[in-house]
């Protein structure tokens, strides 16, 4: 009799916790931590739930590009215990949940499920083990980078430079790996890569004031275009970076849509953030409503991508895209490259 009872208890315990199903009165609480306000990915995430009338309550905390706030936000989250934490960007994700090196298969948030998005390279950032599974019990996320081969293929469709320049920060391993990949593609596509590096200041950070002169050096070494594949530093300094490129009459190609949308890069091949946000929301739905374990979910990516072209930059450089690209691209108008002297 005792055995039967214990079996029933075990069976009952293993049943899905249908008692905690979310309702309009008791919605799933999602806490989203974003780097620079609720931009398109954040909007896409919200819209996904709105469109489907799913009972969720989304709270957004804006870090405002201030990493020092992250520790405090982490503590608040541990107390608050939301049903899901969503992190936006590499810095926020690392700051909130910590790396595998620090926490192994756990996170700084304990057993609170976490979903990251807009992380350029989650494996190299040590947030996840692989793209098939995060390797961490309560972590999953989405990818948003387009393969380099696809990016360069579209660049070459725009125009065919004999030399492509890159400027990397010595602190960023991602950038080095990306440049190595670019060189492999260069061998197949018959162009050369000119690779330069920033000097590191006393604070251990690259010197952003070097951007204009490095850009000139690229030009002097025969580069006909500049490519930013994976560099947080270049992304952060996108205004100066793109303005310097234009000053040297070098078209700037990037893997970051922001560099076209917010600065004067000529073209970017990237996923539209709104779609990345929707993809992340799909993962969130599976965790919250289908009771999927985050560790069981792969780090998914979109099968499609967008081409962004800055019409003003094209005009400034007098380097217009071919009609084939015009037909597929999203055009950005009205962003003038900021003048730096």
């Amino acid at each position: 009799m005792y055995k039967v009872l214990s079996l029933i208890i075990v069976l009952l315990a293993s049943l899905p916790t249908s008692g905690t199903a979310f309702t309009v009165e008791d919605p799933a609480r999602i806490h989203m931590v974003v780097w620079r306000g609720c931009e398109s990915a954040c909007e896409g995430f919200r819209r996904f739930f709105n469109d489907r009338d799913l009972p969720v309550k989304i709270t957004v905390t804006n870090v405002g590009k201030d990493k020092s706030k992250l520790i405090k936000i982490r503590e608040t989250l541990i107390v608050e215990r939301p049903d899901l934490v969503v992190t936006w960007g590499t810095s926020v994700s690392v700051g909130i949940i910590g790396t595998i090196k620090e926490f192994g298969s756990n996170t700084a948030l304990g057993d609170i499920p976490v979903l990251f998005m807009i992380v350029a390279d989650p494996v190299r950032s040590n947030i996840v083990e692989s793209y098939t599974s995060s390797g961490r019990d309560f972590v999953t996320g989405v990818r948003n980078r387009v393969p380099e081969k696809t990016q360069i293929g579209l660049l070459l469709q725009y125009f065919k430079p004999k030399k492509i320049g890159v400027i990397n920060s010595p602190n960023e391993d991602n950038s080095k790996i990306n440049t190595a990949r670019l060189k492999e593609i260069a061998a197949q596509e018959e162009f050369e890569v000119v690779s330069l590096e920033y000097n590191v200041g006393l604070d251990g950070k690259p010197k952003k004031e070097e951007i204009p002169e490095l850009m000139q050096q690229l030009r002097n070494e025969g580069a006909e275009a500049v490519y930013v594949g994976s560099s947080s530093f270049n992304l952060e300094n996108r205004d100066l970076f793109s303005a310097s490129a234009i000053m040297q009459r070098l078209p700037l190609f990037s893997a970051y849509a922001q560099m076209v949308q917010e600065s004067g890069a000529l073209m970017a091949v990237a996923n539209a953030y709104v779609n990345v946000g929707k993809l992340a929301a799909g993962q969130a739905q599976r965790i919250l409503f289908d009771r999927a374990n985050p560790i069981d979910l792969p780090i998914v990516s979109l099968s499609r991508f967008s081409v962004f072209i800055n019409a003003n930059t094209a005009k400034q450089l007098e380097l217009y895209p071919p009609i084939q690209l015009i037909n597929i691209a999203k055009f950005v108008f009205g962003i003038e490259a900021v003048e730096y002297n």
Partner: protein, 679 residues
């Protein structure tokens, strides 16, 4: 019991009927082809204009969008590539150009060339259509569309309708209609033959038989009175006259007149004259329908195998594509002797129906196949059925005809097979284009079932079971030994008969479809090209045999034809086009027409050089080795294609066959000289 006399009636009846049928079929065919093509031409044109307009509009819209992003008209990039791609994609458009400035006004009026339904003039349309068919297209329609940027016309798109596309489409429709009509004509002829036989020649034959018997003094009971109609009534009249005589005779005998009995015996008053009811017509329609069902796959079998090839299949893909043809031929080779034996046991009718079972299962297997292995297996299954059915039909016909007319019977048998090959191959190609490869096998199942029903209804139950003594067909083992010592016979088999079959199965059945597919020919076109071979052989073959008879130099004709068939294949070297394949197939058909009958006669003549050899065993041996050639052909060509490209394969195959023919010629010439010297 001879039916040779009545064949004359049938011959004169049929030749006239055939003539009338052919003329009326041709007239109907011509009219319906013309009607089809004219209609098509008329309706195709507005469609083409609309399509070209759509393409021009797309270009205009895309360029206007590009201009709206800030690209100046003069700085547009990639336009040529963009337009080329569109022209490649839309075959209806011949050329697309983007030019600066507005379009000239005069170019805009394009529709006036195309009359509306009301003003349509049939003769004018026909003239137009014919001029399109022969490729002399009229003025090209041009569509212009202005490109605007901020309300100002900066350039224009100019698109020309592609006249070659119209010609190609029209010719395709023309040939499709032609093929279908040829096929329908062949079917119609078969039906006419059967109907004529049932309704006219057969009753007349019975009357003729009765009269012949009467003329010979046989006043017994003639068969055929029950067949009705005037001839039936006539025979009944004769029978009742004879009945009267019989009754009178009986009365006289009863009255004790002894001579009455001898009179009754002399005039066979009490005898019933029976003639076998079965005729060749019985087997004709079921055999024809079954063969059409079987031939439907011919034009696409290698391509069908290629489509379903799996890495786990027996051999490499290039070998696998030839294997279904070889395995089919191989199974036919093996199953035929068994089939012949089964005829004695089961009778022709039952065997015909039994043969349908593996045949239909094979089609079903092909329909459901998901790998090349499964296709090979299914085709082998069908082959077993095919062997049994053809041997059953062949022996049915052979049995009905008395010995001296058996050759004519066989000619009918071969004629039915050839007609079916032509119909089946061409229709199969069209069907494959319409409904896909696999569904064609469903059509085969349907046709085979119809053949089964027809066979069940039409074939006589009696035939095949009665005669048990027909063991002449069996080749005695010792005759093989004797014939193998006959150099000339062996040479004919090795150097002429086998190469001819290698060309047929390896080149025509395997090489032609895959080569044409590699040249982007449609399935319909492939079917048409392959059909041409039979289309030429059917009418030319009888002419060629009578020519050979007159010349009476069968072996020389065979040698020349073998060499020429090789040279024909060389024609494909360095000319890669559907037209050149068509030409080669046509010439091959012509050359093989001259090879067909003389080859048999030459082999028989050679066999006669050995004592104790019957023609039957020589013929049967020839057939067996020919089938070996059929098995080897596809495998040989497939192996060659692994190592070489299409054109080299054709050239080497052609050169080898020509060489073999030449060797045969030299040997024959040399031995003849020696023989002359020794005599």
């Amino acid at each position: 019991m001879k039916i040779s006399g009545s064949i004359n009636i049938e011959a004169s009846m049929s030749s006239r009927l055939f003539f009338i049928t052919t003329i009326s079929m041709l007239a109907a065919a011509t009219l319906s082809i013309l009607a089809t093509v004219v209609e098509f031409n008329y309706h195709l044109r507005p469609f083409l204009i609309a399509k070209t307009e759509t393409v021009a509009h797309k270009v205009k819209n895309d360029i206007e969008y590009a201009l709206s992003t800030g690209v100046p008209f003069s700085k547009l990039k990639g336009i040529d590539e963009f337009l080329n791609e569109l022209t490649r994609e839309h075959l209806e458009v011949r050329s697309l150009v983007v030019l600066p400035g507005p379009a000239e006004l005069k170019q805009k009026t394009v529709t006036e060339e195309f009359p509306t339904m009301v003003s349509r003039d049939a003769v004018q349309e026909l003239r137009k259509t014919i001029s399109v068919l022969v490729g002399s297209s009229e003025k090209v329609a041009t569509i212009n569309s202005n490109i605007q940027s901020e309300g100002v016309v900066v350039g224009h798109v100019s698109a020309d309708v592609n006249p070659d596309y119209i010609v190609a489409q029209m010719q395709s429709v023309f040939f499709d209609s032609f093929v279908i009509l040829v096929a329908v004509a062949l079917v119609a002829l078969q039906v006419v033959v059967v109907l004529t036989s049932f309704n006219i020649t057969e009753p007349l034959r019975r009357v003729e038989f009765a009269l012949n018997q009467r003329a010979r003094g046989n006043l017994g009971f003639y068969y055929g009175a029950s067949s009705g109609g005037v001839p039936g009534g006539f025979i009944e009249q004769l029978n009742s006259l004879n009945d009267n005589l019989r009754l009178k005779c009986k009365a006289l005998t009863a009255n004790g007149v002894g001579s009455a009995l001898s009179l009754a015996k002399k005039y066979r008053l009490n005898e019933k004259c029976e003639q076998r009811e079965a005729t060749i017509i019985d087997a004709r329609i079921p055999l024809f329908i079954f063969c059409v069902a079987e031939e439907l796959q011919k034009s696409f079998m290698p391509l069908f195998v290629a489509e379903h090839y799996q890495p786990s299949d027996f051999f490499d893909k290039s070998i696998m594509i030839g294997l279904p043809i070889s395995s089919f031929m191989f199974v036919v080779l093996i199953a035929t002797p068994f089939g012949a034996r089964l005829v004695d046991t089961f009778g022709n009718r039952r065997l015909f129906l039994v043969g349908l079972i593996p045949a239909v299962l094979g089609y079903l297997g092909c329909y459901m196949a998901s790998s090349a292995n499964e296709i090979v297996f299914s085709r082998s299954l069908t082959a077993a059925g095919y062997a049994v059915i053809t041997i059953s039909a062949q022996s049915y016909i052979a049995e009905i005809f008395v010995k001296e007319n058996r050759a004519q019977g066989m000619a009918i048998f071969v004629g039915v097979l050839m007609a079916a090959t032509m119909c089946g191959t061409a229709i199969g190609g069209i069907l494959a284009d319409w409904i896909g490869y696999k569904s064609v096998f469903l059509v085969s199942i349907l046709l085979a079932s119809v053949a089964g029903v027809m066979g069940y209804l039409m074939l006589s139950k009696k035939v095949g079971l009665v005669q048990k003594q027909s063991n002449a067909n069996k080749v005695k083992t010792n005759s093989i030994g004797i014939l193998f010592r006959n150099t000339r016979f062996v040479l004919i088999i090795l150097f002429c008969a086998i190469p001819a079959k290698i060309v047929l199965t390896g080149f025509l059945y395997l090489f032609v479809p895959i080569y044409l597919a590699s040249l982007d020919a449609s399935q319909t076109e492939i079917g048409r090209v392959m059909m041409l071979y039979s289309l030429i052989i059917i009418p030319i073959s009888p002419l060629a045999s009578s020519f050979a008879d007159k010349l009476n130099r069968n072996l020389s004709i065979v040698i020349v034809a073998t060499v020429l068939s090789g040279i024909t294949l060389l024609g494909l070297y360095q000319s890669a086009s559907t037209a050149s394949v068509l030409l080669v197939v046509a010439i091959l058909g012509l050359v093989h027409s001259f090879l067909k009958a003389p080859l048999i006669i030459a082999a028989m003549e050679a066999a006669e050089l050995s004592a104790d050899i019957t023609r039957t065993s020589a013929l049967s041996l020839l057939r067996t080795f020919e089938r070996l050639g059929s098995v080897a052909g596809p495998v040989l060509v497939a192996v060659m294609l692994v190592w070489m490209d299409f054109q080299t394969t054709a050239a080497i195959l052609g050169a080898s066959i020509a060489l073999v023919g030449l060797m045969m010629g030299i040997i024959t010439f040399a031995t003849r000289k020696t023989n002359l010297l020794s005599t």
